[in-house]
């Protein structure tokens, strides 16, 4: 969120000793596990080197596709909701502003699993929405166990991660630039397109990443709101570890998923970087 303007990666008072705790942490809990994933992905159950796990992957091509499509949809919906919200929020007075950002953060204080689970009671056939609809003579509609429910779950859970980075970027917006645009005769739309949008781009990119990545790897949402009938790639990975006990295949799928995520982020950063030297804040 606040990594937008780090121009000097090594500040003068850089001190390796201060960084030691985190370095140790990231080696043990990030670097080593990554190597373990790679190791499992290229070995079989006996530990011998093999490409078999990777060769299995085309079997899951369609699932990869479904996951990508759902995540892109969820990310776009998040962006459409979050961008105007963040814009208006950044222009509010201090009081309501704090109130609103509180309301956005509040759901994040509650566990993600519980929030998803509560959607079941809202969307179920005997749930809140359908009970109301039936009272006015519509329905019951099939809301739960549909792709729509899965995307809704993603949007609901990850929306704050889109709002907050954009909001932070908007706050940093230099108001004299907006005034200059007005003075020079730009229409409000022109001002949005030429000034606000480019300047808030780092926030947008960061928001997209923070929504897209968890969406594409989620498994709980699809199981609870999709009825276990639509499998996402996260579900397939979870299944390998939890029930099929095929760690090697699970690791291979995870590895490819990571590569795919990296590629899509790189592509996105490439476009964002073109005319904005302040981009490139992710990865």
């Amino acid at each position: 969120m606040n990594n937008a303007k780090i121009k000097n990666p090594k500040p003068k008072n850089y001190n390796p000793i201060i960084c030691t705790p985190y370095t140790v942490w990231s080696i043990i809990f990030i670097i080593v596990p990554l190597f373990m994933v790679a190791y499992y992905a290229f070995t079989d159950k006996t530990g011998a080197f093999t490409f078999d796990n990777i060769a299995e992957l085309p079997r899951y091509a369609k699932t990869f596709g479904i996951s990508l499509v759902y995540s892109v949809e969820a990310t776009i919906i998040c962006l459409i909701i979050a961008y105007p919200l963040a814009y208006f929020m950044s222009n509010m007075k201090a009081g309501p502003k704090r109130m609103l950002s509180m309301l956005i953060m509040l759901p994040m204080w509650m566990n993600f699993l519980i929030r998803t689970y509560s959607w079941i009671t809202i969307l179920a056939r005997t749930g809140i929405i359908n009970t109301l609809l039936e009272k006015i003579g519509i329905g019951p509609l099939k809301l739960i166990n549909t792709p729509g429910a899965i995307i809704l779950g993603m949007v609901y859970n990850f929306l704050p991660y889109m709002v907050l980075p954009i909001y932070t970027a908007m706050l940093k917006l230099d108001h004299s630039l907006l005034e200059a645009a007005d003075d020079l005769g730009a229409s409000p739309f022109m001002r949005l397109r030429k000034v606000i949008l480019p300047l808030s781009m780092p926030g947008v990119i960061s928001g997209i990443t923070m929504v897209f990545v968890p969406c594409v790897s989620t498994f709980y949402i699809s199981q609870k709101l999709g009825g276990g009938k639509t499998m996402l790639i996260g579900d397939v990975i979870e299944m390998q570890f939890q029930s099929a006990y095929n760690y090697n295949l699970g690791a291979a799928i995870s590895l490819i998923l990571m590569v795919l995520i990296l590629i899509s982020l790189a592509v996105m950063n490439h476009f964002a970087d073109k005319d904005d030297e302040e981009g490139g804040l992710i990865v």
Binding site: Y60, A124, R125, G226, K229, M239, N246
Partner: protein, 383 residues
């Protein structure tokens, strides 16, 4: 502004903390009352076996399924506490969620348990892998109460490794307000009429079992074409299926969200308490049965105390408490015939001879077949 908010939050925290503190106090008082009640209860129980204090001060490690022993909640008797009172042996009680989880923990080594309660097929596997200690059932004075139906079962033909604890059968739970005619076959789970009203297990072995039973196959078949056919059947079902579930089944059946689901008779009784429209049937094609039995693993370091614990669990009064709490069928003859047993002769738990379904056990299945059906299951779930 910020300061006031901070003070408010701090005040709130202090308030809740003090309130919690207040609540804590009277609770302790109540605890004392309960203790007195318990000791009165204890006086009422007469134990048939002999329990000495010779092993007092030692500990046994009991590893059991979650919610599988009365623990003093909901007015039940705290079995482990009773045992400690009687023998002075401390019970270190931990739980697991599946046979496989228990197995991998023991297989991994570095742990020592004195009592475990696995299911039939897992006992078979652990016995083959030399992970269990023999149990001389003749030396257990209460073993005579075990119903002969549950002796000499395939996983322990000589009754030398396990003592039955609970028994359950999978049947079909249905909502009578939706399914008007009492179903007799698993085929109802493929009936288009009930589209989006049907649930199935979200694990391969149980889901395949439903389809295998319908097709008249052996649940432990080593014939791959039978597994293929069962998988096809599941794929066929998918378009009318509402969802694959495990624990959510309680909520979904109780709320009327779904109308047909396969599950265990004991769990059905719990669901029926909350939704009287539910009924249960054992389909004619047969059902899957499980017997969870008490075993002593090789890693046990307190064998004698473990034997004492097993005999204690077989005490008529204790077994009755277990049967009331767990709500699965009891293999204990004294419990089955006890007039105080609220589930005595329950038609679902203890079907009489003429209604007794054809039963099939899960058996430890060959690794190559297991990975084969896991793959088929993936196919079923993927598309």
């Amino acid at each position: 502004m910020k300061k006031t908010a901070f003070i408010l939050v701090a005040l709130f925290l202090i308030l809740t903390l003090t309130l919690c503190g207040c609540k804590e106090e009277p609770k302790r008082g109540v605890g004392v009352d309960v203790d007195i009640d318990l000791s009165e209860d204890e006086a009422a129980i007469e134990y048939e076996g002999e329990y000495t204090k010779e092993l007092a001060g030692t500990t046994i490690n009991v590893f059991n399924w979650g919610e599988y022993i009365p623990d003093g909640t909901e007015g039940s008797l705290d079995i482990n506490k009773e045992f400690t009172k009687l023998t002075g042996i401390k019970v270190n009680y931990t739980t697991y969620e599946s046979n496989e989880a228990m197995y991998s923990k023991l297989k991994g080594g570095g742990v020592s348990y004195d009592i475990i309660i696995p299911s039939d097929y897992m006992i078979d596997r652990m016995k083959k892998e030399n992970m269990l200690q023999p149990i001389n059932t003749a030396s257990l004075s209460n073993y005579k109460y075990i119903d002969k139906r549950y002796k000499n079962l395939y996983f322990d033909e000589q009754n030398s490794y396990s003592v039955p604890y609970c028994v359950g059968m999978v049947g079909l739970i249905y909502n009578t307000s939706v399914v008007k005619e009492r179903p007799t076959s698993w085929g109802v789970m493929w009936d288009e009429k009930y589209k989006d009203n049907i649930l199935n297990f979200n694990n391969p072995r149980d889901a395949f079992a439903v389809s295998q039973l319908l097709l008249g196959y052996n649940l432990n078949s080593s014939d791959r074409s039978q597994w293929d056919a069962a998988a096809e059947k599941l794929k066929e079902q998918k378009s009318i299926l509402q969802s694959y579930v495990m624990d959510e089944i309680y909520q979904k059946m109780e709320d009327g969200e779904a109308a047909i689901a396969p599950y265990y008779a004991g769990d059905f009784l719990l669901m029926q308490e909350n939704n009287p429209d539910l009924d249960f049937v054992y389909p004619k094609e047969g059902v899957n049965i499980f017997v969870d039995s008490i075993c002593i693993p090789k890693s046990s370091k307190n064998y004698k105390a473990a034997m004492m614990y097993i005999n204690f669990l077989l005490e008529p009064e204790i077994a009755l408490e277990v049967a009331e709490y767990v709500m699965y069928a009891s293999p204990h003859t004294h419990v089955m015939n006890n007039d105080d047993y609220t589930l005595k002769g329950n038609e679902y738990l203890y079907p009489n001879e003429e209604n007794y379904p054809k039963v099939q056990y899960f058996k430890d299945i060959d690794e190559s077949i297991r990975s084969y059906y896991e793959r088929l299951w993936e196919d079923v779930k993927l598309y």
